[in-house]
Structure formats: C-alpha cells, structure tokens
Chain length 299, copies 2
C-alpha cells in the first residue's frame, strides 16, 4: 500500500494511492469479503482511503501503521507505447522495516495472494500460516530474479500458482518458448502458472492443459499502473467466491481478472475500481465471451 505519481502520454498525477495490495484488494472486493490485508503504511496514508477499503470488507488487523513515517512512494513515466516505463523515484520509506505478521484472525484464510516483494518477506508470511491454504498465489518480478534467485526458488516450492509476465517466465526458466518455460517453472514447485502478456492476454498452465485468455482490445490505455495486481485481485477474488479449483473455473477466474484489468487502465490509479459495480463487470465479462468464444459448427 503506497503512493504513486504517474506520468503517461495522457497526463500526469500528483501523489495518488497505489501499491500492489491496494489494487488487489479493491479488485477482489468486487467478489469476496472479508479480505485480510497485510501491509505497512506511514502516518501519511489517508484515513479516507483506509475507511473506503474497510467499507468494502478489507480488514486492517495485519496492516502495520508507523505513525511518524512515510508510506512507500514510487514515481514513474510511461513511454509512448505504454509497454515500457522509466522509474523516476523509489522511496522505500516504511517498506524497509516491513516485517509482516499474520494476525490470528487471519489464520485459515484459504486463498492467499503474495504480492510482489522480496522472496524472504513472502516466505515469512507462508511460514506463519498454521494450516495449508487451498491456494497460495505468488507474484514476483525480474528484479528478484536478478538479486535473490535462491530465495525465490525457496518460495516457489511452497506455492500453488505463480503469476509472472512473459519476459519474467523466460528469465526464470532460461527458455524462450513459453511452453518449455512453463514446464520448467512448474517443476520448480507451482502446480499452476499464469503468464501475463499485457495487451496480448494471459496463458494459464496446469498439467497438460493450457488456456489462452485474450486481453480486451482498447482504444486507449490511459494508465497501465496496477493492471497486473488488479488482474491478480480479480482472479483470486473469483476463486475465493466460488471455492472451486477445477480448471474450468480457473479459466473463468482468468477472464474475471482480465476484465478487472481492462477497467483499471481506463483512468489513473485505482479510480475505476472504486466506481464500477456488478452490472458493469457483468457487461464487460459478456464482451469477453463474444471476443474469444467461437463454435466450429461449419467444419
């Protein structure tokens, strides 16, 4: 949970609310509650934002507040193609002291999402869980592969699903073919793998099954910040709501995640996630059906 300042070809923001856990929680809150948030913030994190999340069923017992310190801050500028960005500022602030504690009231959560952070911090959360959840999802990034590959490999052994983008899947596996990359990565631990491909959609791998989900083609991607976290929140929110780990339902969760991601990029930050309702989401989901489904009755 953090602050971001974002510049895109469409405009720029002052400090706005950001952070993986914020995006994921807002997204998941459209499908399930309670959401047991674990994070660390400074005294500067607005009460109004905390209240808005609490009103949506997000619990704060696991969110440490360091009153006299500042929340994590990231500032970045997207290039014209919106696929690449430059980081302008990274102020770790409270994140340097992050020592996540799982409150007793959070134990027995069945669907656990570990946002993108240092692998040893992610591992610390897993090790505090008193019972094995039904699904632990891990997000990570190339940065941790560069500087903490051994730690990342330790975490991978303990999770059920890894979510990375295509270049990260290639880096982690050393394979260019995503099919071969998926095979190698799943041998590292996770039974399920999601490879996110931005505007090209996402691939879900499990056993010998592959599902290819499209991204919604958009006239304008206003701000891609948080799209991956929003995807993750929608995905795990749908799983928690339905409590069904069949491959058919995992496909639906991927589509739900993709739909949520298609909303969040329409405005700066998480604004769209706070505006939309169940009707908007269902309308968007129907667009995905006509976008991707086909019959082969003329073959």
């Amino acid at each position: 949970m953090a602050f971001d300042a974002i510049e895109t070809p469409f405009g720029k923001t002052d400090k706005i609310i950001g952070g993986s856990a914020t995006y994921a929680a807002w997204s998941a809150s459209h499908f399930t509650k309670p959401i047991h948030q674990i994070s660390i913030i400074g005294g500067d994190f607005p009460e109004k934002e905390i209240k808005a999340l609490k009103d949506r069923g997000v619990e704060f017992d696991g969110v440490e507040v360091l009153k006299d310190e500042k929340s994590f801050f990231w500032s970045g500028k997207y290039h014209e193609d919106m696929n690449t960005r430059d980081t302008l500022i990274t102020d770790l602030n409270v994140l340097e002291k992050f020592d996540p504690q799982v409150p007793d009231s959070y134990q027995n959560a069945q669907y656990v999402m570990l946002g993108n952070l240092a692998p040893n911090v992610q591992l610390q959360v897993i090790e505090q869980l008193t019972a094995k959840p039904k699904m632990i999802i891990l997000d990570t990034m190339n940065f941790w592969m560069d500087i903490a590959m051994d730690g990342l490999k330790d975490v991978l052994k303990k999770v059920d699903l890894l979510m990375v983008n295509d270049s990260e899947a290639r880096q982690l596996s050393g394979e260019y073919s995503l099919v071969k990359a998926a095979e190698k990565i799943r041998k590292m631990g996770p039974e399920f793998l999601i490879i996110k491909k931005g505007e090209h959609g996402a691939l879900l791998f499990h056993g010998d099954k592959i599902f290819s989900a499209p991204a919604l083609p958009l006239a304008d991607v206003f701000d891609p910040t948080g799209a991956g976290d929003t995807f993750a929140g929608g995905f795990i929110g749908h799983l928690a709501k339905t409590d069904d780990l069949s491959f058919d339902n995992m496909k639906q969760a991927v589509i739900v995640g993709s739909a949520m991601a298609s909303f969040v990029v329409e405005k700066f930050g998480n604004e769209r996630l706070t505006e939309i309702n169940a009707h908007d989401i269902n309308t968007r989901l129907k667009e995905f059906i006509s976008l991707a489904n086909f019959e082969l009755d003329n073959i």
Copy 2:
C-alpha cells in the same frame, strides 16, 4: 511460387520450395478445390512439385513458365527468438517480369487472395476480374508502405479484407492502439481487417465486432517461414468451402487459418502441409476449442 533457403536455430535447408502462393495453395487445398493459381516460375521449378499441387486441385492455367529463366529465390536466417530474421539473398529472377493474366477459366472465382506483392501488380489482377467476387483478401507488408503507399491505398479501396501484422497495422494507420488502427484502416476501404500477432494469435475486426483468436502455444517453432501465407490459405479455403460470410463463420475461418499455421511451423518449408490429413486438422481444431473457449457459469 519460389525457392527458399532457410536457416533457423534448428538447422538449415538447401533450396526448397517456397513462395506465398505455394503455401497458400497447399493450405487451402485441404478445404476446397479447384484453386486457380496465378504466378510466374522459371524452368527450374520442379515438375514433381507442380504435379503434387495439380493432384490437389491446383490449376496452372494462370501460372506463367519462363523455361529459360530462374524462379524467384529468397534466403534468410532466423534469430534465436524466431520473431526476427535477416534476409541474406533476394533474387527476383522471373518475378521482375511478372505480368499476371487472369485466364477466362478463372473468371467468376468468388474468393480471391492477393498475395504480398507490389500494389500495382495486385491492382492489375483486380482490374481483370469481369465480375465482383464475394471476397477479395489483400496481403501486403511494410516494404510496400515504405515505397508504394499511394498504390497500396488504391488497392485498399478495392478489397474486402486486409491481412497484416501488428507493426504493419501501426505503420499503415499511424496509430499505436490496434483498435484505433483498425478503425482508420477500415476507412481506407476494407470492411474486414485481420491483424496477425504471431505467437500472440490474431484479431479479426468487422463493424463494431472484434474476435481475438489465440495461437497454439508450441514447444518448438521449427521454421516460421510461410506461416502467414498458410494462415491466409486456411482462412480463405474455409470461406470458399462454406460460402458463408457471417461473422461467426469468419471466426471459424480465423481458427482454421491459425490451426494450419500451427502445423506449417513444425517442419521446414511446406512439408507439414503435404503430410497432414483431415483427421490431423480436426484434432488440432479441437485443441483450439479447449485452448480458447470458456463458460461463465460460475459468475
């Protein structure tokens, strides 16, 4: 119709049979006949290859043979990622004299595919048609946008469907967003647009409808040469077979084209297209259903 010599990370070939029209004809021949081929070859084009095509219903009345000259020859080397390649040799040979003539016996063809060539040559074929076909499909490439944009725009006004890759769609329209690119390109003439995205599949645009087809994720892409032409052949072959221009059937044609492309890359050149049968194709099409289709019954 031509010769290619290809080098990929998997190996290299001597001169083998290549050319857009060869790939497209082999691919389409799995779905429809006769196929009215228009091309130019030299005396070096093997009788055996001509006979193999004739046996599959490909007619040669429109193929000019210059006995004492050489067929077009292209040689290229693919990079490790298989998405980029260097052209080593381009010998135009007979292609410099290509003056396509539409034989009387070809008139009234309802499904016309114009392979990637100089726009004025493509236009020459359209202008010889005595009646408007149901569907004229145009392939082109960035090269013609660089040196013959005006001619290309003239051809675009006279075709029903344009098939290009994503970077070509961006170049032609000046728009990065493929949705905006599609809108601009369709204002240039074609009612339908297919944007091919290689390993990321293809998008079909018509009116306000978009269909996103996946590519089959492959462990090895052995040789990508001809994949686009094979896609086009399968696409138009299915349309000619079914004679149905509904959007639902166009979606099926995109999947058929994608399936045929997924075969051709498995070996060098067009070899796989000469080996596979209807059973192989149907099995592959079923893989596309499980790859891309989903229900939303848990929402």
